[in-house]
């Protein structure tokens, strides 16, 4: 009798202690995920101005489909942005300069002298509302808890390695089997949606040619020619990878994101689509965006087609 | 004579105040012991303690000379019982159920199942689901399963519940036969005194958790016309005793 109690008592004691210890280890342990989250929060919260170099590449079976390179200077305080955007696609290449200043968003293609200006008052209201809450945390703890829960055990897949100079490399590598089934199931839906949307936005290719200098059109045409990536059968995410470098000041210095889809097009040809985004951040809080004086220049006001939708 | 079961100072208190108080009981080999008592006297509780379903608050229980708790499974190998009521997994057939039981006793011959079903008169219902059995049939199946492994001690709690007249007659002859042929010791509880009168060699009367009288049936019968008369008289005495006890404790 005594032996039985001793045995079960010690089993409970020991296993309870191990459970608590391992739970606490996982709870307190700084995982790559926590490092990444902390760096993201720190970067976003203290950010006033920054220079962004972004490079987006879309490849199909290893050949380049389109590429967008941008160099942007942004100031969150003044809500100003300036920079250039270079798009290389199958249809040719485009250089676009863009500015965001008090009169709105200004676009100009290198191919013409027209400045397109788009005003969006609705967004301005949003930003004013945003200003009020600026002092609040960038990500509320409630939202953070929800995101943590959604990520679940994927948290453990983030790895963090510290370099000798105090910076950290954080990476996440997922292969198809590790990607949650729900996300995986969305892949064919997303491709369907993409094809559907491109049909909508382009009543006919002839129309696009006539209006060739509208940068928005060019942008869509150059970067996302949905016909090139029209995977219809067996679409799935093959891999997702995320690499980030966090500098000693705990700011995200560079951020790389790759996603690879596999599938077949309508003709049954197998494709491997790779989308990569490489973002470099520099000159934290030391960037002043350029501005452009529109007086005396050829300006065309653009209406926002989507505005109606936003209000719905 | 060898003692088969021994209860020494066994007590059990329930939250509702009822229970068993200080029972001493010894079963000798070959006994057919009748445990008598009105409803709620504690017969089932006593049998549950004897078979380990509940543990006593005080006292010690041994079967075949071994402490019950220390050598539970070794002792239970030699015991067959039906406690409280004949309950079964109703989604199995009688044969399936007996086969499950046989798994606990590696030395049972396969034909033994048919034998015990025949012995209790259930052979023709062997392949029927227990769900469709009547109370009496379940009672018979419980008897069959408790003698399946040729036990040395059989404990039956109210075995005649739900049995028809024919069934009761059959039950008596089964007990007599098993006792005579195999020397099996029986402990049978009942609130129906006349059922046990012609069967038992010893009886004990349990009243409000106390074993108020124990005796040899032959000796009791010489002083009384029938066991029933003795039983009623003893219960009356028991009641008076309890009431006196209460009065004394008040004063």
């Amino acid at each position: 009798m005594k032996k039985k109690w001793l045995l079960s008592g010690s089993a409970i004691g020991i296993s309870g202690a191990i459970m608590l210890a391992t739970g606490l280890t996982a709870f307190a342990g700084t995982s790559g995920y926590e490092d990444y989250k902390a760096a993201l929060k720190n970067t976003a919260q203290n950010l006033e101005s920054v220079t962004v170099q972004a490079d987006a590449v879309l490849k199909d079976n290893g050949t380049l489909l389109s590429q967008a390179q941008s160099n942007l200077k942004a100031s969150l305080k003044n809500e100003a942005v300036s920079g250039t955007l270079k798009i290389n696609g199958k249809v040719g290449s485009q250089n676009i300069s863009l500015y965001r200043q008090p009169e709105g968003l200004v676009w100009k293609s290198d191919a013409s002298d027209i400045y397109y200006v788009k005003q969006d008052k609705a967004e301005k209201n949003d930003q004013e509302a945003g200003k009020v809450t600026k002092d609040a945390a960038w990500l509320s703890s409630q939202e953070e808890t929800v995101i943590d829960a959604l990520i679940g055990n994927l948290k453990n897949e983030f790895t963090s390695t510290s370099e000798s100079d105090g910076s950290k490399k954080i990476s996440l590598q997922l292969e198809s089997a590790q990607i949650p089934a729900v996300v995986q199931a969305l892949a064919p839906v997303a491709f369907k949606h993409l094809a559907y949307q491109s049909e909508w936005n382009r009543p006919g290719d002839s129309g696009t040619a006539a209006e060739g200098s509208d940068p928005e059109e060019l942008f869509q045409q150059g970067l996302l020619n949905a016909k090139d990536i029209a995977l219809t059968d067996g679409v799935q995410i093959q891999s997702i990878s995320l690499n980030a470098v966090v500098n000693p000041a705990n700011e995200i210095q560079s951020q790389q994101f790759d996603i690879t889809f596999t599938g077949q097009d309508a003709q049954g040809v197998a494709h491997t689509l790779t989308a990569s985004l490489d973002v470099q951040l520099s000159a934290f809080n030391g960037t002043t965006p350029d501005s452009i004086d529109l007086s005396g220049k050829q300006v065309q006001q653009l209406k926002d087609d989507h505005e109606g939708r936003h209000h719905e | 004579m060898e003692s088969i079961a021994k209860l020494t100072g066994v007590s059990k208190e329930f939250r509702n105040g009822r229970g068993i108080r200080g029972v001493n009981l010894v079963l000798q080999k070959g006994d057919i012991y009748g445990l008598l008592g009105p409803n709620g006297a504690g017969k089932t509780t006593l049998l549950k303690m004897l078979t380990g379903l509940i543990s006593p608050s005080f006292g010690s229980i041994s079967l075949f000379g071994q402490n019950l708790e220390q050598s539970f499974s070794a002792s239970m190998r030699k015991v067959g019982c039906m406690i409280e009521s004949a309950d079964f997994y109703d989604y199995v057939t009688a044969v399936q159920y007996l086969k499950l039981n046989a798994n606990f006793y590696p030395d049972i011959r396969p034909q033994r199942i048919a034998e015990v079903l025949e012995a209790v008169g259930l052979a023709s219902f062997a392949k029927e689901k227990i769900r469709h059995y009547s109370t009496g049939m379940k009672q018979k199946l419980a008897m069959a399963s408790s003698i399946l492994h040729n036990p040395e001690l059989v404990i039956w709690d109210e075995p005649t519940n739900g049995l028809d007249v024919e069934g009761v007659v059959h039950f008596r002859s089964l007990v007599k036969q098993l006792s005579a042929d195999q020397g099996i010791t029986f402990l049978i509880s009942s609130h129906m005194i006349h059922e046990l009168e012609q069967l038992c060699n010893r009886v004990g009367i349990l009243h409000q958790g106390v074993l108020i009288r124990e005796g040899n049936v032959q000796e009791l019968l010489t002083d009384n016309i029938s066991l029933e008369q003795y039983y009623i008289a003893e219960l009356q005495k028991g009641k008076e005793l309890m009431e006196n006890g209460r009065l004394e404790s008040r004063t």
């Binding site: 079960s8 459970m19 679940g152 292969e175 | 989604y91 499950l100 606990f104």
Partner: protein, 249 residues
């Protein structure tokens, strides 16, 4: 242990005699096939949906979150509270088997049933991939698959131990079933409100097997999470036993 072998055999036989166990086995065989049929039905809308070598693992996610816990609750309800309410628990306890043996027999029988369920799923979904899989979607990594299934098995056993412990407080199968489903969904929802809860909750480990598919997860992480699951398995199993042992049948 005395009678454990016979006890386990009997609990398994009783599971088979109960129709719902076979029903669950049948459903678990059919679900991967039904998904294939669903994919075919969705063909005109979404194109062919990839059935790839990771299909067995993707199915595993659905099973460890929904089907196996449900199966577990139904079986535990039959193994414990149902036996109390129908007064059949004594049938096993009056045989030459100790309380510990009877208790372990029930737990092991449930473990075997969960194992069979996983085995059926793994086999059928692998067959589905071989028969309906789209070529060129990668290679089947048998070793990785086995690791994932073994890990899923451990997390399911720990979950089973937790709910066997909970079942000791119930005397009716229906009450236990409702409570355990509510508790499980509740425990699945809590991490959305309380940060850090998931580190201490077994219910958050249903997709734990995915760690074993990774090439980047550190060994330390695998060791601590395995230890967590093993120790919780042992703890709830032991507390459950103490309660079961004290039961007055």
């Amino acid at each position: 242990m005395d009678g454990l072998r016979a006890g386990l055999k009997n609990e398994l036989l009783l599971m088979i005699y109960r129709k719902k166990t076979m029903f669950f086995f049948l459903v678990s065989v059919l679900i991967p096939v039904l998904f294939i049929l669903l994919f075919h039905a969705l063909h005109p809308i979404l194109g062919r949906i990839a059935v790839s070598p990771s299909y067995p693992v993707q199915m595993l996610e659905i099973y460890t979150v929904f089907l196996i816990p449900l199966f577990m609750f139904v079986e535990i309800a039959d193994l414990f509270p149902q036996e109390i309410s129908s007064r059949t628990l004594k049938l096993a306890l009056l045989r030459p088997i100790t309380r510990l043996g009877a208790y372990l027999a029930k737990f092991l029988a449930l473990g075997v049933a969960i194992g069979i369920l996983l085995l059926l799923l793994g086999t059928v979904s692998t067959l589905c991939n071989i028969l309906f899989g789209i070529p060129g979607t990668g290679n089947l990594d048998i070793f990785g698959l086995l690791k994932a299934y073994a890990a899923a098995f451990l997390s399911m056993l720990s979950l089973a131990a937790l709910f066997i412990f909970i079942a000791q407080f119930f005397r009716s199968a229906g009450g236990f079933l409702v409570f355990s489903i509510l508790l499980y969904t509740g425990a699945k929802a809590v991490p959305y409100f309380i940060n850090g809860f998931s580190f201490f909750s077994i219910t958050s480990y249903t997709d734990w097997y995915s760690l074993w598919l990774s090439h980047t997860v550190s060994t330390g992480r695998l060791v601590t999470t395995s230890l967590f699951l093993l120790s919780s398995l042992l703890m709830f199993l032991t507390i459950g036993y103490i309660l079961f042992d004290r039961k007055e049948v």
